[in-house]
Structures are given as C-alpha cells and as structure tokens.
Point group: D2
Chain length 333, copies 4
C-alpha cells in the first residue's frame, strides 16, 4: 500500500506537536513536512524532519495538509491547499461555522475566504456520513467536541426541555490556551488557581456548539457556558446539566447513551456507578462520559477529552482516515 | 482586657492547624491547649504548646472550645463542654442540622446527642443576630458557606424561579478531604486529575444547604450539586447557575449583591467585569463573589472561599467573636 | 511465532500498572494474569483480564513472571516460580544484592531465600552479556539505574578521583513512594513542597548502587546521596557531581559518553548545549543524559528516567527480552 | 512616632508585590507610591494606592525607596534617589558586586553608575554591622542569600577544605524567573517538569556568592552551582555539599550552626533529625536550615527560603529597618 503523504502547518504549537506525534506512528502516513515560523530549522520531535518555514513547505509533494494554525491565518492556507488539489484538515475555527455572517458575529472580522463555507464539520461520531471521501474538513473545537459528544444521544432523541437552558461548566488544561507566552499562561498565575473566563455566552465556541446542537435538536434551550482554566497541562472536562422534557426520564439515560455509543471505539461510556475523571481521557484519543440522573427530570453529564487529542489532533487524524477511506481508527488505538 | 481562654480539639487536622494559627495571632485569645490523638507530644505549630490527648485537655481552664473533630465524635465533646459551662464552637456537622431526623437522613446514623439540636447556624453574614452572645454555634460546612453566600441576596429577595433547579458545580482543594491518608488523597491519584464525586444530590452538605436556603426562600427549586476534587491544596469555588423569576432581571443582580454586602468586611463582591478566581480567596478569611448575567433570566455566580478559612477555621473564629461580644472581625483582617 | 505467556504479580501498584500496559502492547507477549490483593476482581487496565489473588494465579500456564512486589514478599514468589520452571523478572530489591549479608545490612532483616543470591543485575546497558538467556534477573532500583547510567562511561574508564566523594542529588516523583496511602504521599503534604529524605548514606539503594559501581571502578570514592520527593507524579532526575582524576579532563566527557552510548537505543545523550529535563524521559522507556564540564576536574551529569519505566517496568521488559533471546527493545520503542 | 515614608519602584513584579504587602502591614511605614510601567492606573493590592508611572513617582515625598527593578534599570533610579537625599534599598543586582569590573564580567555590560560601587551587601545575619544607619544597601539575590546562610557558620570558622569544590544543587520556584511572560515560564512547559539551567559556573549569582563567601573564608574551593526550575510558584532550596578540612568533623556541625544562629529570629536551624523542606520557609520571612553529617569529612546542608521573601522582599525590609535604626524584625514576625 502506498502511504498518504502529509504535511502539518503549525507543527510547533501544542496541538501541532501532538498531531506530528500521532502521524509519526500512523502506519498509513508518510510525514513530509511540518512548518513553524518560530522554530524553523529545529528538529521536529518524534521524526527525522526539521521545521520549515510555511512558505517553503512542499505543498506539491503531499496528499493532505493539516492546519494547526490560528484562525484567520488558516483559511488562506486551506485555500491554497484546495487550489493545489490537496486534501485539507483544518484544526482552526475558520471552517467550522456554516456562514460568513456567523463567522463575523463570533470572530469579529470578515471571513477571509467565504467561498470555503460551509465545510463538513468533522465530528465523526455525529457526522460520519458527511466526511467519507471529502476534500476538506473542519475539525471542531475542543469544547464543542466534548460537549456535543456528551449531549448527542439526548439531542438526536429530542429529549431536552425547550424551556430550560443547558448549563455547561467546563474546565480546561492550559495547553488549550496555546503556546504563545502571555501573563494568562504564566506558571505563577495559573498554579494553585482556578480561573473562569469568557463566561455567560461570550466564548467563541458557543457559535459552532449551538449551530451543531440545533441541527440535531432545533427546539433546545440556550446554552450557558462557563469555561475555567485548570492548573493542569492537558485535559478538558465538560460538566453538562440538562433538563429533560416530559417524554423522557433521567433513569432512561444510561441505556440511551449505551445504545448510541455501543459501536464507537473512541467514546467510553462509563458504568453508571463511576464518574469520568480527567485521567480517563488524558493522553488517550477517546472521550469518556459518565451520567448522573438527578430526580426524574434532570441529568448531569460529565464528558472528558484530552483537549489536544480528541479535542484537536487525534480527531483531525480520525477525520483524515475517513477522507481517505481507510479504517477510521487507524493510528488511534 | 482579660483574654478569652480557648482550647482546640482536633488541632492537627488541616482545619485545626489553620484554627490554631489564627487563634495564635488573635489579640483577644489565650490558647490554652490543642488536642491530637495522632500527634500528642509534638509541638503545636505557631505556639509554644504541645498537642495533648483529648482526655487530658484542661476543659476547666478555658472559656471556649473549638471542635475540629469528625462528625459523631464532635457531639460528645460539645456536650461535655456545655455541661462544663464552656462555650462551644463546633466545626463538625453534628450541630448543623435542625433535627435528629435530618441528621439520620444525611449521616446514616442516629444523632449522638439529639438534645443539642437545633443549634444556631454560624454564618454571620446571614444569621448574625442569632449568634450574639450564645453558648453554642454550629459552624457551617465549606460548600454550604460558599454557596449560601453566593445566593443570599437572591434568596432573601425571593428572586429565584420556583420551577427550575439551582445548579451548583463546585471544585475543592484536597485539604477539604481531611488529613487522614487514603487512596483518594494520594498525590499520584489527584495530580493532573479532576474528579467529580458524590454527584447529583448525594453529598451530605445538601442537607444543611437546602435547610438554610429554604428558610430564606421556601419556594426555591431543588439544588443539583456536583463537587469536584481539584488538584490544589486549598480553595473552594462554587459555580452557581440560577434561573430568576419574572420579578427580577439578571441586570439587577450586581446592584442587589452590592447592597447586600456593602458593609460586610469578609465578603468581596468583584466589579462586574471581573471573575472571582481561587486566588482571590485562598489564604484569606474572605469570600469573593462575581456575577455574570446571562440573557434576562439567568445568572451565573462564582463564589470562592478558602475551604479551611471562611469555609471552616476563620468562620469559627468569626462566630466566637460574636459569641463573646467582641468585634466580629477581630483577628481576621 | 508462539507468544511468551506472562504473569504479573503486584499488578495494581504503580510499577505493576505500567508493566501491564507495556506488556499489553508487546507483540511477543500473551499476558495471562495479573495479581492484586487489594483489587482482585477489578478489571486490569489495558487488558481484558481481572485481577486475581496471588494464590490463585495460574503459575503453570506462564513462561515468565514479573514480580512488582514489596521486598521480602517478592523472594518467596521468585522461589516458587523458579521451582516451577518459570523465568523470573524481579522488580523488588530481594535479588539485587549479591550476598545475604549485604541484604541484612541494608534491609535490616535476614534474606528470605539466601539460596537465590547472587542473581544477575538487570541493567542491560552495563550487564547485557550476563542477561542473555538466563532464568532469573534482578531489575535494579530507579535511583541506581539512573545514577549508574549517568556514571557508567566514567566508571569503566576509571576516570573518577579516588579521593573525592561522588555527590548524587536526586529528585523523584511521588509514584516512587508506592501506591499505599500514607501521610508522606498525601496530596496536601507533597503539593508545593520539596522534601529531602533518607539523606547522607541512609537510603537503601546505596547498597546496590555502590556494589555495582565498585565492580566497574573499585577505587572510586564514597557516594553521598540525597533523594528528594518532588511534587510531580513521575520522573526521576539524578544530579551527579564528580571529581575526575588526573588522567582525564572534563572536556573529554562528551566524547566518552557519546562513544559509550552510540548504539544504545534506550539512552539519549543530549547535545552538549542542552540540559536533560524531566520531560525528556517521562512516559518514555529511555534514560536522558546531559553533561556540564566544570573547570578541568569536575563534571556535572544530569541523568533522567521515568521511575516507573526505565526505572522499573520497561527495564524489566528489556530484561525479559534478553532472557528469551528476542530483540532487546521489542515493545519498548 | 512619625512613620517612614516609602516608595516602591517595580511594584507589580512578583518581588514588588510581596514588598508592597509586607510594607502595607509594617507598623512604621507609610507607603506613598508604587510604580509600574505595565499596570499604571491599576489598584495596588493590599493598599488604597494605584500604580503610577516611574517618572511621576513623588520622590520628594518619601524617606526611602525600594527598587524591585531589572538590573541596569535599577542603578539609574538608585542614583536619582541618592541625589535627592532619599535612602535606597536596591533589590536588583546593580549594587551587589564590589567593582565595575566584576559587574562587567558577570552582567556583560559596563556598570551604568560605577560611582555607586561598592555598596553594603544587605545580608544582616552576616553583615549587620555594616548596615546600621547607612543610606544605600544592595539586597542580595535569592540564591546567594540561601547559600550564604547555609554556609556562614562554616565559612567564618574556615572549616572548609581548600582542595574540594562546594557543590550547590539549587531548586527554585517559578516566580524567581520574574513575571514577564516567556516560553520558559509558560505553565505547560514547567508543569510536571524539572529543568536545570545555567549549570556549572555560568549563573550570574556565582559572582556575588563567591565574592561574599571568600571575604569570610578566602581559601575555600570553587563553587559548582546548578539551579533548577521547580514546578511550584515560590520557594528556594539550596542543597549544599561541602568537604570539611582536617580541623573539623562533621559531627561538630550541628553545634556550630546552633551557636551561630542562636539569636537570629529569621533563621531556623532544625533539630538534627529533621530535614528542611520548602514548606518550612514558603510564605515566611525566614531561612530554614538542616544538616546531615556524612562520614567524618562531609556535610550536606539544606537551606531553604521563600525566594520572594528572605530571598528578596522581606530581606529588603529587614535592611531598611537597620538603615533607619528601628528593630530589625519590625513587620517581619
């Protein structure tokens, strides 16, 4: 079998580094280049390559590119890849929203390449059918991945009350804030601390989260979202509190989730006497989920991923596997 | 002025150690003894004392005793203190619930001394009038303190919807689990982890929390509570998500809280563009609160304490100050 | 190729869990059982097995057993394995010292099975020739592994001054202290702390360390050893300060080490402008080493391993590979 | 008593913030201003002030200024203060070395104000007599403070072998690296890691350390120094390994240190069966020291400070107390 030749843009960020590590062990991949503006010339960990400048990357020598770039920067490279006939797996936010208007609303600037929208939303457990063989995929954000997987069985059964909000209290490790130094990520500011940020409905991930959730369950209530910066390096926990509608009792939830995820190798539904913890997911490519029924009408869902894996890099590879028609979990188990 | 002579039972646990430290710097206190079964004979940090066995503590030489003991053990010592004419500040759960039946329900065993119930609930910002000059006070748990202070202005104005639950997603440092070694508190199990526990409505603190909240606002909905073990040593954050009733808009909340806490030296209401973080409260004797209005009907409250201070030891001292009629914040600012 | 059937005693401790994880991915191994007194009946992570009681382990169904047991307990199981014709990889201290007298001196009790001594010391980079095809191997302790690899090129060239001590300032993650709960490993005691322990020459690992070092370089000076408990879960750094004798200048060290480790896949000698950090080794099966020449006569060596991998579990597997004549790094790269 | 009016330059760095906190509780101090380029206009924690720009600070309204500024920037402000008749406590490196030549050698640039050298070296336990009533003091670096206090009793008795180096393996919390964001201090780079840096004799603090040590004991051997970045926010441990000369046995050390520090309220010599840990010193203004004699000729000293307190801010206040002739520990116990 000839290998798929891949390039990684933004290979020296935290998601990029995990991506390179996963690709370096993927049996079907030949990693051709990894770019980095900051570290060009330095060795790429887990490979024999050195980082190259984005402009000098051999776009014509690869079959697929992964874009672990900041939003706004990513769209232009995606465009270039598409024009060159190369498949594109974007890990930025640039292709996640369906319309330029939504992008403008959540990212406060015009979309750099509106002609690229909409792109398939790469959350295979939900959208698998739309990803097979396609040329471009938008890999979801870490928060939306974790929250959507935690709610999916309820959403597709329209089990949520239309009159109540969905509360998402989320906690993320510091790699989620990127590798660029800032006071926010200074060790002494984060250590021993817990910091809520972009509370209410102000975090940008609300956009794609509600977009995708409402496709599955248009009548659901608004999402109230509070992320927290957790004093650990990686891992993301979404604590989701939902109100069920009259058609559905909390005691049915465990079975509903078990059925939905029975054949999903990258989702672990925990037994109903266990709680998902950060350690269930960190350094794995899976999402771990546990459920607590509360009274008849309420359900507390804990959904956990590694923000750099199922929340970014490994999900990008899962999408690539689907785009090339190879087994979805290749290189991920 | 003659000093108040104080004794501490359970002085070598984490709350006990903080209590001793605070009392050792309190200008009106003469610390006479601190007991410890495990460490008797060892020096008591921040003092010239050595830990003594509980049985040999000089109960007749003190005016007040603090009980930083496990529940069930505490009630018997409280009884002894009362019989000896000594004031009692209990930090355990034994005196917090109003009836033996409630105690049986939440603590799975008969109350050791039902004749001690009910005792005044020592949350001065709410119950100050009931604490002045009394002989016995039950100091609240760390979670109820933090949650009740975060909700108090809403509760006393009956601003909460009766038809919606109150969601409390809480996170506590490991000292909250006590000093007794167990796998739960083993460094390698907690480090880099985040662990939900006693989810739903199964945590014992639900009992006193709903008891006190409903006294203020009987029609409020049920509390859904999920504590998490946070990989830090101290600090407690309660993220409280409430639905307001029609009489009240989320935009009014900041003013309501500002009014309620204007003269409270141990509650810090943050400006409405700031979020309370663990660092706002850790190693202080205060509760820090921030508010995020969400749409018209929802409010997200972040309430933070040091679980060993305002959540235990310093609140006990605040209660003692009230019991002896001295300035409430003596030794605490 | 038929697989080697393996059993793990003590599979639920931290080293045991890493061992099971490595064996579960080893292409030549069929893991038959893992024992645990505490967790019998529970699933064994990364496998389809459940932990069994040590007494019910199917010793007659395996070709090799790994003993991740406390010292003194381990020797008896080693004896049983040998008597049953099964190869034994011991991770405890029971087989590391060459004589019962040395064991008595360092472990304060008679050796449970003196007839098992001496056993080959399983540090392949040093003793490879003595490990091929043998039936029993003593896997070294985490500190001796890390220190010996950091000194080996100097020892075999007799480059150390006979008149000066070797200073070893070591730092270990908390998993090195085992999984059994104690105040020493309580999260709140270790967090934000750094704790020297068993200072001077009082740590038991001094015994095997000097035994093996002196075999290579009998005239070396005494080792002064200070381990510290580091507030991380895993990783071990040995900072080794040596005085060179007149035959050797510090500027020659980099070449000497480069030559010694040129063909060692599990030792990373860093370029001379880099320092080995904990992250170079944690979650890998390798030892990372960096050198700092100081003046002409002194050398500062930083040697780093994952205490649970090259310091325990992966080195045990490396030894097993040698014992069965398969490629030494199978399952480890 | 009229209060001493003080100003702090560089009040928003980590040492500056601790300095402001200590001064705000100092009974003899009236804090008049704190400067910050980055945070001007923001409230100064623990005070009623707002940060002002350095140029607008009211130098003519204060009796003393503290300079918590970067080296090179500090000397110019020191000069200005001296010219204005204000006492100066410098926390930077600018006044620590006795000659411009030494400054050039260690700081790679000409001294900005050579006329200020030499200045009294502000380590009161060693140099107290030279600090009383003076107008300018150079407060030592965190590493030199901790190491010099750990060696002082030996140095003044010339107890060290002239033929052996002094090994200092040091570990510092991240605040020691300052508050300016960089990849070095990024949470995800430091977390779970341990990083040696400026090994050998390359760290700038070697200059003042050997300068002061050799004043006490000119014949001592060279210092080999390796600092490590520790994954905690504050605290500094120096592990010092010395070889004693023939006049002195390691068993005499405990008495020697006990005598030297008997009347030093800010040095804690631990009992000889205890080891100094980071927790002995963090958030205190003291240095904690423990000793381990090793064989007859070697001594292992553990010396611990809070790098922001006795290693910076509280030592600066201790110096100021001496400069103004008030009790040396005022505001520090």
């Amino acid at each position: 079998m000839t290998k798929i030749r891949a390039g990684v843009y933004g290979g020296s960020g935290y998601a990029g580094l995990d991506l390179v590590e996963i690709l370096s062990r993927h049996p079907g991949i030949d990693l051709v280049f990894a770019t980095s503006k900051t570290y060009q010339g330095d060795p790429v960990p887990n490979t024999d390559l050195c980082f190259v400048a984005p402009d000098t990357a051999a776009l014509d020598c690869v079959d697929v590119i992964f874009l672990a770039l900041p939003h706004r920067a990513s769209a232009a490279v995606a465009k270039r890849g598409i024009d060159a006939g190369v498949k594109v797996v974007d890990l930025s936010a640039d292709l996640r929203l369906d319309s330029p208007e939504a992008y403008q609303a959540y990212y406060d600037s015009p979309h750099p390449h509106p002609e690229l929208l909409p792109a398939p939303y790469g959350l295979p457990e939900i959208n698998r059918a739309q990803l097979a063989g396609v040329d471009v995929v938008a890999t979801p954000g870490c928060y939306p991945t974790t929250v959507l997987l935690g709610m999916y069985p309820l959403l597709r059964h329209n089990a949520l009350s239309a009159d109540a909000p969905v509360i998402v209290d989320a906690k993320s490790g510091v790699t989620g804030a990127g590798r660029k130094p800032s006071l926010t990520t200074h060790f002494a500011e984060v250590y021993s601390n817990l910091i809520p940020y972009k509370t209410g409905r102000s975090h940008r991930h609300i956009g794609e989260l509600e977009q995708e959730a409402q496709k599955l369950s248009p009548q659901m209530g608004p999402i109230i979202f509070c992320p927290h910066l957790l004093p650990v390096d990686r891992g993301l926990m979404a604590s989701i509190y939902v109100t069920l509608n009259d058609s559905f009792a909390s005691s049915q939830a465990q079975d509903l989730f078990a059925e939905a995820y029975a054949n999903e190798p990258l989702v672990d539904l925990l037994h109903n006497d266990k709680q998902a913890t950060l350690k269930h997911a960190v350094k794995t490519n899976r999402c771990a989920i546990s459920l607590t029924p509360v009274l008849d009408s309420y359900l507390h869902i804990t959904s956990v991923t590694d923000n750099l894996r199922k929340g970014a890099a490994s999900q990008a590879v899962q999408n690539m596997n689907l785009m090339f028609g190879i087994d979805e979990t290749t290189g991920l188990l």
